[in-house]
Symmetry: C3
Subunit: 388 residues, 3 copies
């Protein structure tokens, strides 16, 4: 499909590929009395965390696109990436227009197909994630550094929409670099920094978070007074703010079959008629492949990528890749007049990659909550995932 | 794409195929005065019964997947099969994980693309149909017998979700065999049996059914007091039950262009604080191809399959396949303190298969209802179907 | 995939192609005081106007199909074309069954992928657009004339459904002809006429319209009393009618890089217990390609088609196609006892086609409204579009 190599024939655009994924989750909850009092009796459950169908391809030799729909979430199908990309704008940069993940946060820039744990770490709550906007981004030719600058509407809903005469505009930027690399081999040190300035539509902002698990669905027939979905454990309520700033710092390393990743995020909320809020979050996680694989680093994006077992289950006769991982994460939604609570999660994980496209995951999450007193919950979560 | 036959090249997984179908229905209702009083004035209507897009393929040489979304039903897109299949587990068996049809009932295990009538027979109401779980299944190498054992969450909603600390687990198993086969020719006798034990989430169970037709949509502007969708004709209301057992028996036969299929289903509901309920259902249907075709039997699944006309309409110059069919079905939702009513349906059907992928169907359904007295309704239904 | 040319092999049907499109819009509103009083303070916003995934292909050598889902609109995914087409019925005609655009109106028969402006002209409000039905249509072998006759249910909702014992049936027919053609070159004169007779379900009919822009989504957090989506500027409310007739006339011309298109539509509403209403609408638009392209005419459908730049942006090294366009449109929803208001829109447009599949559009719309006094609004709208 490269028009240059077949000069005599017409280019055969558009190209299209059908892609998608399924994440089938189940979770079991154990809560102490204080936690039961705080959020109600969270029910055990099973649900599809993500069920996606997407079309990706090239509309022309320099224009890519993606339309990715998620059917697993409540409400109408929510939008994953819906965007077009014009290549080679202002040099080697790409211009992206549409609904996409805003460039702040290494964890949130990592594909949901390629996460080490069932959910992203708590500080993701602070970050804009997918919003509607336009972004210019690029990477060094040797893929040792990336940059991105995006302007976007905030808050965009799960379908890319935003309204509001009062504000609703934001900007985000992220810079990453590989500061040490062990030849082409499996060793590197990644650093990154990001910033976002947000003027939220209608001056409203709200942060809230469940522990690092999500079961969104009910099967019907839930008795009165019992939560039918997972309630937030910490919650600021609506904050009246003219603008908010986000600061992010990233550090990640690979050394053979071991890798680690850590981020700190600060949200500085300029309250209207109230004091400025300083809300911090941070996490660190590490993983190790028992079967000798290495976590791939995507130099063009500055994030970790897909795990390919050395020997997949199937005709190759292997046992796939086995990985153990652990994470500690923390988020503080309490400052001054806003007492949204604090939460820390500790997660232990076991991942079995049958092949590059199929994995089973097991997480145990212990959540400590400081909100209206101290409370605790333990969660066992499982996932079966296939993507294509 | 078979990695064994091209040992030197890497396997090209994942594979993906876009599939789907459309069923455009129309129905006209005639009700006697008692039926009008029982369920209201059911409106004539037209609607898409199923509108599906799906991705099916192999994630690896031994892992298949399916993500099948239905846009024809009310609410957000409901899930058809969303699952992954690991082949050759514990011998020649498949391990299926996700949302799929639970193995009990020959009618409900038959693909919606390949049904003789517009809707499945009444006793399907008792059966779990699609639920979220894990299943081990297989067939004899000569495809003369099948087995399946599944554990699942119950009730899963139309999006594969289930919550509830109290119960919500179930098991189902189905065995089928071809006990007589006329060489490789179009004659065989199929028997089958199935069982399911269900501990429903939150101890709630409800059976209800319309006649064997379904028009779910409104075009807006329905006057007050007129049903905007098809109401159930019989309905148990919520039953408080600790566990429920299902028993199913199947009998089917093919003889040249003639085939017949029959099932009996028993639901034994262990009421909390009440007597055990015995709720039976049964149906028998038969079809005959005027144009000489034979109903294909899928030996690996123990169900009937697709009709392929001997000469399709089109460049083959044929008239397609013409089939006449009839069905009687019955379901009793009244026992002891639960008086949900009884219903019998008699259906006459005419099917025109233009080609293996396109058909037009005409059904006349006569419904007899015994609930708060006796009442009757007659329904004329039509369908245009294409699948791919 | 042509079975005739490979007589020894079996035909390889069904065929399928994944198609789709994205339209990402943003709009800014300016209203005078009277307009603010009439419809409230319309908020600036951004949204995906259309986000579509579809499967199109052939089920057999003479049967085509299309299943096209739109995820950009509110509510569950709305149906674009969902239909099957049997070719060569009663001569060279096609029989279409399903949910499709009813044959009345040149503007509404033009693909949403190939529109000159962001939205269709105001009179589209009168026309049935997509409804569920069956249509026989064809064109002359030299593609200089088209005809279509369709029977359909009305009103079908956005998912193809319709209910109602009282009415709900309609018929539409359209005839077009090319009356002058400059050889095979870029010059022609198109005329067309269409008629529809509608007996709406439950005797209810309602016309309402926004200006020629549509932002349907909210990002949440809209203050009380502020419209979260774009309200209709003119609105008849429900009209009680036994039947309604629509008359349409079309005129269009191409001359080199210039083209123009105009339509007049009349709705004659037979009110129950009230006078007959005569409601007119009309528009004229013209476009000119600064870069020398010509508007393609699709002779088989009697509408304009896709713009292909002479030199696309990308490896061809071009600047794409640049087009300027203007439109005036008018609709009157006031007659006798129904005082829904009148509106005129004037639109100036600038289109940049990077390649045949990607374009950016800029529209400025000035709306004059006569309803409870006179009021005005100005709207700046932008779109990024990719389709495949």
């Amino acid at each position: 499909a490269n028009p240059k190599s077949v000069a005599e024939s017409k280019p055969s655009f558009p190209t299209v590929r059908l892609s998608g994924m399924m994440q089938a989750d189940a979770a079991w909850f154990s809560q102490d009395a204080a936690n039961l009092a705080l959020v109600g009796d969270v029910q055990d459950g099973a649900d599809f965390r993500r069920t996606r169908l997407s079309a990706v391809g090239k509309a022309w030799d320099n224009v890519g696109y993606c339309i990715d729909m998620d059917f697993g979430f409540g409400g109408r199908p929510s939008f994953a990436d819906v965007r077009l990309d014009v290549e080679d704008v202002l040099g080697r940069n790409d211009l992206r227009v549409g609904y996409y993940r805003q460039p702040i946060g290494m964890d949130v820039m990592t594909s949901a197909r390629e996460m080490t744990f069932l959910e992203r770490a708590l500080p993701a709550t602070f970050l804009p994630f997918r919003q509607t906007g336009a972004m210019l981004s690029g990477s060094r030719e040797d893929e040792l550094a990336t940059w991105a600058l995006s302007v976007y509407r905030f808050p965009s809903d799960f379908y890319g929409g935003n309204v509001g005469d009062n504000g609703g505009y934001a900007v985000a930027s992220r810079l990453t670099a590989v500061v040490m690399q062990q030849g082409d081999g499996p060793g590197l040190l990644h650093i990154g920094g990001a910033y976002s300035l947000i003027d939220p539509a209608n001056d409203l902002l709200r942060y809230r978070s469940t522990p690092e698990i999500f079961i969104g669905e009910t099967g019907g027939g839930v008795p009165v007074g019992v939560p039918s979905d997972l309630p937030p454990f910490i919650d600021t309520g609506n904050i009246d703010t003219e603008y908010t700033q986000l600061f992010g710092a990233e550090l990640a390393a690979v050394c053979g079959s071991f890798y680690a990743q850590s981020e700190a995020v600060y949200s500085v909320v300029d309250q209207r008629g109230g004091p400025t809020l300083f809300l911090p979050g941070a996490y660190i996680h590490a993983g190790y492949f028992l079967t000798g694989e290495t976590r791939v680093y995507k130099g063009k994006e500055g994030v970790f990528g897909r795990v390919t077992p050395q020997k997949s289950v199937g005709s190759e006769g292997g046992i796939g890749a086995w990985e153990i991982a652990a994470r500690w994460s923390y988020m503080d939604l309490s400052d001054e007049n806003i007492q949204g609570g604090r939460m820390a999660n500790f997660t232990a994980g076991l991942n079995w990659y049958l092949n590059p496209r199929t994995k089973f995951q097991l997480n145990y999450i212990h959540a400590d909550v400081w909100r209206a007193g101290e409370s605790e919950a333990g969660i066992l979560g499982m996932r079966a995932q296939v993507d294509f």
